[in-house]
């Protein structure tokens, strides 16, 4: 029985967060009326010429520096020729021969704490095409060229990924990285990041790659993972039945959860690439590289390591937090206030993230502030409230976050822990008196029944008792019985 190894390479299209398009002055704002953000250049009017947006170049170089890649000092642009109604010029301006970012690599932290080295082949600048709208026009196709000329950075990986989960972690990694670098808004639902996955299988131990298929246009982590899983199964079924995988482009249909063939590459497209004569080679000066290197923010893997070393977080916690730069900002300010990194991480990953998910809010817009969470952690630590009670305080804060400070919620709910030994002792005596049978069972060695008695005390204290203190008190009281 052959065991198969999955080989995946990803191409991620990152929409750069420039204000104007890559080759024109038209706005890049999302959601405008169709064709209201398309100037003569985007409409490919006769005589219109592209002018490279310098901001896009800076962002691409920033990206290259962040992954330690070679920066091409004289990148050039090429034309990729094909006819399609939403490609107004009949060619896409892209970088074929001399991409702006050359070889690089990343250390990809996985949830299990393992770190994988993933090679980056290249990253190049290009323009996006427009959009064809089929639904609203019967028998006709609408063309919206607002997206035509949007700046894209296409990041091409080596075939170094080995599972759907790794591919998803890789996509997440870049989703975080580009936002750390502030070169992309990361809004997947607006198409700010999309990826194509090249998937193939080979018998484990084999050097050469199997035939691959390309799944196009995946715009969510979930779809990416499911599409790849599905494609792995499909290819495995084919191979094990003695068939061959056909090289082709496939589309993932999220509704039926399957991929289907889009076009075969048996006769390969000829894009007739050649140097774009309307643009001169770009000169990347040493001074620009210096300037951008100095302003690079702390990168995810550095943060990851710091979270392990300085904050003693678990690998899982660190990997989870660094996925989102806004989360790390929240985490770091909470930790600074609370002095409890692990507890801070627990709160963010647990209660807070569940609440924000339900509210569909990003953490930067969280109604619960780091100050409130820090107070909650402090009150738990100083014994004012139990962990259970803290959860109830959190829930109450969620209901009316801006009006209540933590201490007033605690007293409003009457959740202060009973630390007064006299009062607890009174409750203990009462519980012992009401449960003579259980008392004698414990006395005769049935230790388990002690738990029942603790429960009774906790109930009688309305949860305000400290369970450990209760157990101690009960034990010493039973000795005296």
């Amino acid at each position: 029985m052959t065991t198969w190894e999955t080989v995946i390479g990803l191409e991620i299209h990152v929409q750069l967060a420039t204000r104007s398009k890559i080759f024109s002055g038209a706005s890049t704002a999302f959601g405008a009326e169709p064709n209201s953000q398309a100037c003569p250049v985007d409409l490919a009017l006769p005589g219109a010429l592209p002018v490279l947006n310098e901001a896009a170049v800076r962002m691409a170089v920033t990206f290259g520096l962040a992954i330690g890649a070679e920066i091409n000092r004289a990148p050039t642009f090429d034309r990729k020729n094909y006819f399609y109604p939403d490609l107004p010029k009949g060619y896409q301006i892209t970088q074929f021969a001399e991409p702006i970012v050359g070889r690089g690599s990343i250390l990809l932290p996985l949830q299990d704490g393992e770190v994988r080295h993933i090679g980056i082949t290249r990253a190049h600048l290009e323009e996006d095409a427009g959009k064809s709208l089929h639904e609203e026009y019967s028998g006709l196709t609408g063309i919206d060229l607002n997206r035509a000329g949007m700046p894209l950075l296409e990041i091409v990986s080596e075939p170094d990924l080995r599972s759907a989960a790794e591919a998803t972690a890789y996509f997440r990694y870049f989703h975080a990285l580009v936002r750390y670098l502030r070169i992309c808004d990361g809004k997947l639902n607006e198409g700010s990041m999309r990826c194509d996955a090249n998937v193939s299988l080979r018998p484990r131990g084999q050097e050469t790659f199997g035939e691959r298929t390309e799944i196009k246009n995946l715009n969510s982590f979930r779809f990416l993972e499911r599409a790849i899983k599905h494609e792995i199964d499909r290819q495995q079924d084919l191979l094990e039945a003695g068939h061959e995988v056909v090289r082709e482009t496939r589309l993932y249909d999220s509704e039926s959860d399957e991929t289907r063939s889009m076009r075969s590459k048996e006769y390969s497209d000829d894009y007739r690439y050649f140097p774009e004569p309307d643009l001169l080679p770009v000169r990347i000066e040493e001074s620009l590289i210096q300037e951008l290197s100095q302003t690079l923010p702390e990168l995810p893997e550095q943060k990851y390591q710091r979270y392990l070393d300085k904050f003693q977080l678990s690998a899982n916690q660190a990997a989870w937090l660094i996925n989102d730069p806004d989360t790390t900002v929240f985490f770091e300010s909470l930790t600074k206030l609370s002095g409890e990194p692990r507890e801070s991480a627990n709160w963010i990953m647990g209660n807070l993230s569940a609440f924000l998910n339900k509210q569909e809010l990003g953490i930067s817009r969280s109604p619960i502030t780091p100050e409130q969470l820090a107070a909650l952690i402090a009150r738990t630590r100083d014994g004012t409230i139990s962990k259970n009670a803290a959860n109830r305080v959190f829930d109450r804060l969620c209901q009316k976050p801006d009006t209540s400070d933590v201490d007033s919620v605690i007293s409003e709910l009457g959740l202060e822990q009973i630390n007064d030994a006299g009062e607890l002792d009174r409750i203990v005596q009462q519980v012992l008196a009401e449960n003579p049978e259980q008392v004698s069972q414990v006395k005769s060695g049935k230790e388990k029944v002690l738990g029942y008695l603790i429960g009774q005390v906790m109930q009688a204290s309305q949860g305000k008792a400290n369970p450990k203190q209760v157990a101690d008190l009960l034990k010493s009281a039973l000795e005296r019985v």
Binding site: P40, A44, P46, V51
Partner: protein
Amino acid sequence: MKPLKPFQSVAHIRKGLLSGDFSAVELAGFFLQRIQHLDPELNSFITVTHDTALKQAEQADRQLRSGSAELLTGIPLAHKDIFLTEGIKTSCGSRMLNNFIAPYQSTVAARTAEAGCVMLGKTNMDEFAMGSSNENSYFGAVKNPWKPDCVPGGSSGGSAAAVAAGLTPLATGTDTGGSIRQPAAFCGLTGLKPTYGRVSRYGMVAFASSLDQGGAIGHSVEDISLLLAAMAGFDPADSTSSQKSCESLQAFARGEYPALEDGLKIGLPREYFNALTDTGMDELFQQARRTLEQTGVEFVDISLPSTSAAVAVYYVIASAEASTNLSRYDGVRYGHRCDSPVDLEDLYRRSRGEGFGSEVKRRILTGTYTLSVGYYDAYYVKAQKVRRLIRDEFNQVFQEVDAILAPTTPSVAFPIGQLSDDPIQMYQQDAFTTPASLAGLPALSVPCGFLQQLPVGLQLIGPHFSEPLVMEVARRYQTHTDWHLQHPASIAGVTGIGEA
């Protein structure tokens, strides 16, 4: 109003405007009337912009009255129909753009309007500037004013014919492989293709982006220097436009001519002269040489060995670029669209099939072929290598000489229809003009005599951005000759409009 003449220099016209002999409106009216009478026969205009002309002329008159007139204020001008003119049809000589009203202004049209020029109309041209005879126009062939059964040259044939016939004193043109110089030569005019990057290509319909360059056609170097100064200069909307200062061009236009050093050296490339089959033509160049020698110029024989490859290299590169530049004409957003397409493929096929003429199709096919996998290295890459070789040879030669003198064309204007079925013969028309295009050099054609009652053009080529030098040599030549002052008698005489 003093009587107007069709063939006066811009300086003379300007004098008349400034002294109030006639107004800009009267001047525009005079030329518009000549167009109306003569152009139905000549066919040099695709669109006559009567209203725009009068409006711009009125504006010019206000400036003239207020004393704020500039060098070109009120001077009539025709634009090759390749420059987008906002609100006015810009057809590029093609059925594809017959319905295309330009929604924005080209930089050249904006700058000439800013300089005060009065636009009379848009001139005929070979479709998408592809041709050397102006026979490839959807709007019909243009006649050479010197001999109406001959071509005016191309692709800026309409511009050249219009100036030669005295329908406008100045016209813009574009030159990709000779499209200003060859028609200037065929029509007895002065035409300059500036250094690549001097004049913005923004709003100029692209044929071959790495070669296309806007320029000027007129009766004399002095005239075209005025137009060039208005057109030239860096444009942030064209990434390939040069940031080089145009101060020397402005100075030239003001009449501050550069001093030429004694013993100025001009090279005579033997490859060009050896290729001349017409001894009559050769004799005219020898005459021109003697004339210039009398002004102190020294001539040396030089060699540009790769000259013979230029036409082939040019047609590979220009067609490759054209094949993709013309992809945007797909019937989707503007331009010709076929009737009731059944599907996308049909829309593309018929819109392009109907919209483009045969020469344009030939070049799209050639260009698509040379860029295809398997042929790219053999054609496009190789052509680029030879292009570099051609440029290097020029640079080498310019170490020894200040400029180069060569014939502009291998022959005088040929009869309409003579070469139209023989593209290879037609392409050979560009043998002497394509080298400077491939090297991006400024090159100018001035009239240097007649053969069979048809004008002959002499070409001066200089190093990059040496327009002032090239123009000054040509200007001196024109102070010693009167070839540029000869005009086709038949045209002027036929109607007698405006003749004193």
